[in-house]
Symmetry: C2
Subunit: 330 residues, 2 copies
């Protein structure tokens, strides 16, 4: 508890564990507030809290998730991520080794994305008041001048809907790690930063309508949000949606629908139909988008509703997810 | 748990409780990320997590604390606070009524400070995984053009040290509420936003060296940080430091030193000595600074150390706080 009290022990934790762990200079504090000069005219600002259990899972961990998740939220506005804040809430008794491993993953994820943790805060709470560690990352990114408005309410009838790869891997990987489902040992979270994929898209076309990372609630929630915000209908084809065979298998056993599972390294992209082929090619040229596909289109029918043409040729409504499938996986 | 799963129940919580509670339009979501255009050349960026127990205490609550604390961190860079993010981590089973009361306090605090919650995130975690509610607020503020660098490493020998009012009220109020110390019923937290006080200071003088809100670790931690960052000595006078009689009484009974208690509505201000009288007058003209005083000065001796001349005429070192006094009060 002393490590969170703002005194010598807090300072020691900061200088011997947190700052070195993040790769920051231990002689200079992580300030309560930081000054940013002339970073750009249009900025994106986002926040997200990460409470995933377990802290480490195949393909990722709470540290990489906290960096990549916030970077992907910024990328969804078309922004180049620049700086992040880091709010740690630690449980009394958390092993320093666990904390160090998480900080190391945060460091690696920021290095990989050329972002920096510029301001931070650490709280320590009593045993049982938090589940080991919760992380909040907020972020600021810069939107390039030539980019128009990218938002969930910008979809228009006729637009093409693309998905940057297979879905459900993160949701299944976390659930399998939590429940010790050994038969699913090959499934890895897709946790990845998508800012470079988005940057390459913005080079290929200036006309992007919506970008959405389908995290909690999956592709179903992302598409429903777009259909509602844009007051349009959305039609997708089941056979066009990439799902890894193992994920599909596990979903069938457990009665889950991959459309509702969380992803942490995928993007839903909506562009005018005449740009769709260029965008698909650009996506496929990026290792993070090699399994991309055009999965459907925006219509002027059934406003606010997502409809899927199934592999059997029938149509079904893909509703907003009703409750929880997998708690706390993103 | 369904309220945190990103589907219909999450959406319902957002539209029927969170958005109306914050005074935002329930028809427009609180976006994952927001675009800010042309807000200023120099920005301050800060983050803080709030884990206070109890959630409501005399003079404040976790909602007002989360807004004012982040506003005060921005004010310490000389910034005018502009926008905030709101990250909520809720415990499964938290009463909607409690959440609504907290959101109402957040709404009032943002209205009072002309700030806005522009982006947010809500997670719900299993019972026992969090202590009712934790809040993270990050904030962005704009630093006026004429203001120079204000930072803990800018103090210089000869500078005057001012304190904007009496200390220890917040720390004692929270402890009393937690421990049900009925004899301390008149002590209220000083929780308040200090941006207008800082704005009036910056009108009075352009030459402010350091601003520091003495929260966790109290005035002792704030002054030690400045002494160390600026590589100077600091000397303060015990009789110059305002402490309310009731706070002093309770501290004597419990063996606490007010210098180490948290404050949530006070500012330590360091300015060149020839500006000290003007600054003091400006502070005293503001209701939030009516008990301000010049409490000491910066020296070229005992670098990195804070020394206090006691009421008995002796000198003692005011060390960095060693461990915890009052856990989780800010």
């Amino acid at each position: 508890m002393a490590h969170g009290a703002g005194g010598r022990a807090s300072d020691e934790l900061l200088r011997t564990v947190i700052l070195p762990g993040l790769g920051n200079d231990p002689r200079s504090a992580l300030p309560d507030s930081v000054v940013l000069s002339n970073i750009g005219e249009r900025l994106a600002f986002t926040t997200d809290s990460y409470t995933v259990t377990p802290l480490f899972f195949p393909g990722g961990n709470i540290g990489s998730l906290a960096v990549n998740g916030t970077i992907n939220d910024l990328a969804c506005s078309g922004a180049r991520p620049l700086v992040l804040s880091l709010g740690l809430i630690l449980e009394e008794g958390l092993e320093i080794e666990t904390l160090s491993s998480i900080l190391d993953e945060i460091r690696k994820a920021t290095q990989l994305t050329s972002t920096r943790i510029v301001t931070g805060d650490t709280k320590v709470v009593g045993k049982g008041s938090v589940d080991k560690i919760f992380i909040n990352t907020s972020g600021i990114g810069v939107i390039p001048e030539h980019i128009g408005r990218i938002a969930p309410n910008q979809a228009r009838p006729g637009d093409a809907i693309l998905l940057s790869g297979s879905i459900g891997d993160h949701g299944v990987a976390v659930m399998a790690a939590r429940e010790n489902l050994s038969f699913s040992s090959n499934i890895q979270s897709d946790c990845a930063p998508l800012h470079s994929l988005v940057a390459s898209l913005m080079t290929a076309t200036t006309d992007i309508r919506c970008l959405r990372d389908p995290t909690r609630g999956g592709v179903a929630a992302a598409l429903n949000e777009i259909a509602r915000s844009s007051r349009v209908g959305i039609t997708i084809g089941e056979d066009a949606i990439p799902v890894h065979q193992e994920v599909n298998g596990l979903c069938e056993i457990l009665g889950l629908d991959p459309l509702y599972l969380a992803n942490e390294g995928k993007m839903v992209i909506i562009v005018p139909s005449d740009s769709a082929d260029t965008v698909l090619e650009t996506l496929k040229n990026n290792p993070l988008g090699s399994e991309s596909n055009i999965i459907g289109h925006v219509t002027d029918d059934h406003h606010g509703t997502v409809v899927m043409k199934t592999t059997l040729g029938t149509h079904r409504i893909v509703d907003y997810p009703a409750g929880e499938l997998l708690p706390r996986i993103c």
